[in-house]
């Protein structure tokens, strides 16, 4: 990869890629993973059809423009969007954090070593958390603030603005997982992840550009049909009823999921992806909550059965719409509290980011499943046998639950109590590394993006997992990565699949509640598919 990338390079050489990473640049993994699978190359047909000018990977799938006029129109819209980001009306929600991060960066690069993408890529300049921020900062100073030309003399911000730049910047906005490790490291309190999210907002809210998986198949689908999975209320009820029957048969415990129960103590909102991809998770919640005698319900009103809120990653308007609907549904049901399923971004979206827009009767108490589950486990209501979980277990800390909300210990107390083979990753807790699929990346797999997401963004997490199980590396010992977040599970699934780590090293993954249910003495057989022990 080209080293020492200059800030202004992003606007130059429109025909080629800005950087050309290669698998050989990546930080090496230990055996048997020291031979990196070859990356899928973009085909000529794809290059002819889609914009591909950043790093040889396509995450956005942006169609090539039809004419130079169309390119110019988008560039003008981009400038309009820059100005709106600085507006008290259009961007009141994040104006202060944005301006502080733009104006007070010392450009000291202290944050870069905190970024797993930059570090694992072989320290490619393009992936510095500061690179896209500096481009953005210079654009703001030159094109969105008074005396732009004069400013550019002092601030080196005379950066060319063209179609090449905005499309590269768009793609580059999705080479960051918004994990905020860089923000933690910054002595000034500057937040490059926030700047990245603001960029994504500009593209979405002004140009109408957002990854299809997050927008059309994400928030748009969720607001229209009820779920980003496409499940309508009728379909979700049918699916869960099927799961109830299936898991009742499997466990010997009668499972009945309550729906739309008015006045219930708890409205549980899962990430609906769990129902389709990891049904053992919602089933385990149902088993546990019924066994603990909790008054609870799911909602079948759209989108009350899907805690996903991809707006958190790219769009304030969509974020507000989804969060408001969730709160309205809870209010209508008259529940005492909403409990977040094992979904990190659901936690962050509904518990903190949307907190200030839930005014009036919509401010219904909201709680993490981590504390909720801890309370059940330590209540003494359920008979639990830790020996049923006697296999190596490590814990992945989802950024949105741990670094962003400070929920660190409850899940650990559960694991220490129920999993004799529990061991931490290094580092962990609020210093954790992102799974590599954060900020929506985990659901994005168009063209060859999955290869980048797994082998670059997910590389540090994979290394951490391998290190956590270094004392039992063989496939003969089943190991469990506990990832209490749907997004992270999706990414860890892809990492394990990409490197064949389940076959080679016996590494499995799943949520937290499954381990609790696996320890329940009321179950005759192990709940976890790989059998434990």
């Amino acid at each position: 990869m080209k080293k020492n990338l200059d800030i202004n390079d992003i606007a130059s050489c429109p025909q080629g890629d800005l950087a050309e990473p290669s698998a050989g640049d990546l930080a090496p993994l230990p055996p048997p993973y020291d031979e990196e699978p070859a990356w899928k190359r973009i085909t000529d047909e794809q290059r002819g059809r889609l914009v591909c000018n950043l790093d040889g990977f396509i995450g956005m799938g942006l169609p090539r423009p039809e004419s130079p006029e169309q390119e110019r129109a988008y560039v003008e819209k981009f400038v309009a969007g820059l100005k709106k980001l600085l507006s008290r009306d259009d961007n009141w929600a994040f104006l202060q954090p944005l301006l502080l991060s733009l104006d007070y960066c010392a450009r000291c690069q202290t944050c870069v070593s905190a970024c797993p993408v930059y570090e694992e890529s072989g320290r490619a300049d393009l992936y510095r958390p500061t690179y896209r921020s500096e481009v953005f900062r210079r654009l703001v100073n030159r094109y969105a603030r008074p005396f732009g030309r004069l400013r550019s003399l002092f601030l080196d911000s005379d950066i060319g603005l063209n179609w090449t730049l905005i499309t590269r910047l768009y793609e580059l906005a999705y080479r960051c997982t918004l994990c905020r490790r860089c923000a933690q490291a910054c002595p000034m309190g500057v937040d490059n992840a926030l700047i990245t999210r603001e960029l994504r907002k500009l593209f979405s809210q002004e140009l109408g550009w957002a990854p299809r998986e997050l927008h059309e198949k994400g928030t748009v689908l969720q607001l229209e049909k009820g779920s980003s999975t496409g499940m309508t209320p009728k379909v979700v009820r049918e699916n869960v009823e099927f799961l109830d029957e299936d898991f009742s048969e499997q466990t010997g415990i009668r499972i009945e999921t309550p729906w739309d129960r008015e006045g219930a103590d708890v409205l549980l909102i899962h990430n609906a992806g769990e129902i389709l991809s990891w049904p053992e998770n919602p089933a385990a919640f149902a088993i546990l909550m019924n066994a603990a005698g909790i008054s609870w319900t799911l909602s079948s009103e759209d989108p009350g059965y899907d805690g996903v809120n991809y707006g958190l990653f790219y769009d304030d308007v969509q974020l507000a719409r989804v969060a408001l609907r969730h709160a309205e549904i809870a209010k209508k049901l008259g529940v005492k509290k909403i409990v977040m399923g094992e979904c990190g971004h659901e936690h962050k979206a509904l518990m903190t980011i949307a907190d200030r827009i839930l005014t009036g009767g919509l401010n219904i108490p909201r709680e993490s499943s981590m504390t909720f589950l801890e309370n059940i486990v330590f209540s003494g209501k359920i008979d639990l046998d830790p020996s049923r979980n006697d296999f190596p277990v490590t814990l992945h800390d989802p950024c949105n639950i741990v670094r962003n909300l400070g929920i660190v210990e409850p899940q650990r107390r559960i694991l220490r109590k129920l999993c004799p083979g529990f061991r931490e990753m290094t580092p962990h807790g609020v210093d954790n590394y992102c799974c590599g699929g954060g900020s929506g990346l985990a659901v994005m797999s168009s063209a060859n993006f999955r290869d980048w997401r797994v082998s670059v963004a997910g590389r540090r997490k994979f290394r951490q997992i391998l290190e956590a199980f270094a004392d039992c590396p063989g496939a003969d010992v089943n190991k469990y990565v506990c990832a209490p977040c749907s997004n992270c599970k999706g990414q860890i699934r892809d990492i394990l699949d990409y490197y064949g780590a389940t076959e080679k090293s016996g590494i499995h993954y799943g949520g937290l509640v499954e381990l609790i249910v696996n320890a329940m003495t009321a179950l005759e057989k192990p709940y976890l598919a790989f059998g434990g022990g």
């Binding site: 104006d103 450009r107 905190a114 923000a183 309190g189 969509q318 210990e409």
Partner: protein, 303 residues
């Protein structure tokens, strides 16, 4: 430069510094209330800050009394301000120069306080001499260490390939300006005779408004450069010591849950208009955030 002119320059510099610093701080403080964007660890979380935990770790947290420790916050800030902890941990090669630059400034501020204390105390020869000697040591050390830091940062930003692309002309100018300030001060220590006495004379004149004084030309030049720097500083990012209050206390550590006062502020915010033009927003025409939030993908809400 005669005493009168130097005093006018110093007063003007102080006025510019105060006015611009206050204005920038006021402007930042008056920005609209933003949505929450906290980041663990929040050091005021009593008993939890050490590992980054928050009140969200409590079962039904809204029913519990929150335990807060301001000591944690103060300690965190002190480590950051005095020792540049984050840079020490992650950017050791830069820390040497950055720490020197900041330490130089702190030593000089301390030196001025010592000289002021000496002026304020009832004259006693032994104390007077001791304080002036201490002030001289602080000044000499401050100028030397500060100059080392400023020069080191300037060179490092020129030659380090990871810093050079990010270094603006303004950043280079700032470092040279700082270097000029430290170097002129160092020169004054060496060439201006009794430095503490000269500086004290200036301070006394500054507080009394008496312009009938004359400084050694080198010391006068140093005072003038320092005054110009003080006037220039609040226009630059170097005023980050004020901005940090907001980046830390108002953003990173502001995890206050919703309350009635905030709800009132937010009603006003949600009434602001939006003009974002993407198809799923369709802003403009008097549409407010509250209106937009109740739509479905830019269309009227389903009935």
């Amino acid at each position: 430069m005669n005493g009168q002119a130097l005093l006018i320059l110093a007063y003007a510099a102080l006025a510019v510094f105060v006015i611009v610093a206050v204005y920038r701080t006021w402007k930042t403080a008056r920005m609209p209330v933003h949505l929450r964007w906290e980041l663990a660890p929040v050091p005021r979380e009593k008993g939890k800050a050490a590992y980054g935990g928050s009140y969200y770790e409590e079962f039904e947290w809204w029913t519990k009394k929150r335990s807060v420790s301001r000591t944690g916050e103060i300690l965190y800030m002190l480590k950051e301000i005095l020792f540049l902890k984050a840079v020490w941990e992650r950017n050791r090669k830069l820390w040497i120069f950055s720490f020197a630059l900041h330490s130089g400034i702190y030593l000089l501020v301390f030196m001025l306080l010592v000289l002021c204390a000496d002026l304020a105390l009832i004259p006693r020869r032994a104390v007077d001499e001791a304080l002036r000697a201490a002030a001289f040591v602080l000044a000499a050390a401050g100028y030397a260490i500060g100059a080392f830091g400023a020069a080191g940062l300037f060179v490092k930003r020129l030659v380090d390939p990871s810093l050079e692309p990010f270094t603006t002309p303004a950043a280079r100018f700032n470092l040279l300006f700082l270097l000029a300030m430290f170097a002129s001060g160092g020169a004054a220590c060496l060439m201006a005779g009794d430095y503490p006495a000269g500086m004290q004379l200036f301070l006394l004149s500054f507080f009394t408004g008496d312009g009938s004084f004359a400084l050694h030309p080198v010391l006068a030049a140093h005072v003038a450069i320092t005054a110009l720097f003080a006037a220039y500083l609040p226009f630059t990012f170097m005023i980050h010591f004020l901005a940090k209050y907001f980046t830390y206390h108002e953003i990173r550590w502001n995890d206050e849950p919703m309350n009635d006062a905030m709800a009132k502020k937010m009603e006003a915010q949600l009434g602001r208009g939006l003009t974002w033009s993407a198809p799923h927003v369709r802003g403009g025409g008097g549409k407010t955030w509250a209106d937009a939030a109740r739509e479905v993908n830019g269309n009227e809400k389903k009935s």
